[in-house]
């Protein structure tokens, strides 16, 4: 008989999480009440200021300002910091510019590393075993299944976030956006496009 069969079910994940917080609180590692204060501040930072809309602003600036684009491609960290986007998991940002015959896609196959200051915390699909297992090996199939058809005439280059580089894709600017303002352009850039699993389209903005 497998001992697994008779093993007790784990406590619920919510109870396990509270148990860890309460145990830490009781140790007095931080002054009383400060643990919750630090937690609240951290979460507010991610909910409000560190999200993918920052990246959309970076992309829109690069599309409208050739000198900024050049700075972004030469030193992504500094160019993002110019717009105020810096912080943890953004210590070495590398911008990957799509070209008519080269399409970039980002993954972290071993965990789920992401450029937090410009992409925010990643979505569940990016963290899923399905995406991590498949996209390096069969990117064209995975992108097709996710709704993006990349013709075989175009190279797909998958960037695996194994070390400290944190990537952001600079997607192709859609035609028919001539004369658009930076704000208008930022409004059509999606997180998925900056990861490389979607193109920037005018339809995407209509859906939002």
């Amino acid at each position: 008989m497998s001992h697994q069969r008779h093993a007790k079910q784990p406590a619920s994940i919510a109870k396990r999480t509270s148990a860890l917080r309460d145990a830490l609180n009781e140790k007095g590692l931080l002054p009383e009440g400060q643990l919750d204060t630090v937690l609240d501040a951290t979460l507010a930072q991610f909910e409000e200021t560190m999200n993918w809309r920052n990246g959309a602003k970076v992309v829109a600036r690069a599309w409208t300002d050739p000198e900024y684009r050049a700075r972004l491609l030469a030193d992504g960290t500094a160019a993002c910091a110019e717009l105020g986007f810096e912080g943890p998991q953004g210590e070495y940002i590398v911008a990957l510019e799509d070209e008519p015959e080269l399409h970039h896609v980002i993954v972290c196959t071993q965990c789920s590393c992401t450029a937090w200051p410009v992409l925010g915390l990643p979505p569940d699909w990016y963290k899923s075993p399905e995406y991590r297992a498949r996209v390096a090996r069969e990117p064209r199939k995975v992108l097709h299944q996710m709704g993006l058809d990349v013709p075989e005439t175009i190279e797909i280059r998958v960037w695996d976030t194994t070390a400290e580089s944190r990537f952001i894709v600079l997607p192709l600017r859609p035609p028919a956006t001539e004369g658009w303002s930076e704000e208008q352009l930022a409004s059509i850039v999606t997180r998925e496009a900056m990861i490389g699993v979607a193109m920037v389209t005018l339809e995407a903005s209509a859906e939002k």
Partner: protein, 210 residues
Amino acid sequence: MDGIHDLAGVSGFGPVEMEPNEPTFHEPWEALAFGLNILCIGVLRAYNVDEYRHSIERMLPAHYLSASYYERTLTGVASLLVEKGIVTREELENRAGGPFPLAQPAASVVADGRASGEKPRYQVGDTVRVRNIHPAGHTRVPRYVRGVCGEVLHVTPPFSYPDAAAHGLPPRDEPTYHVLFQAEDLWADAAGHRETVVVQLWETYLEEIR
């Protein structure tokens, strides 16, 4: 370690499911688990990010695959805090009112690799081979590139060598590279057409072509 976390190329997974208008956190406990990890790394300095990644890699494979991202976070954090003597498993289980699964113990690891501060050995355009190594501890060289030749695309800055930092060995910075691999060299007959993969690798993971 050749762990369950090293997923790239493993077959059998289904479609990637996307959720429209996904919230940052789905449940309050997810935010709490994430916040506890940030707190333990950044404020309490109870462990570093390499130790954190490795604690998750050491989860039992069946638990790893069945757990959500933030359950893995919580399990890693709790495992490290127990291993470092900050909390005990008993008190966690008493508080939670049931079993609290943790990661398996880390292997003992000795220092390897280069001395700190050396100049990069390879240049852009060089062909390099990834060493076919299978470290018992933490490593960031994924299995699918081991033994495979690639081209140095960029020489990137020196960064802390994770195989050492994850095991409390003296930290040292080492040159890193973006190395470009052709799909045919990685996946042979299963490779797609016009597909490439770039992996960022520490210099210790690489060897010259002779």
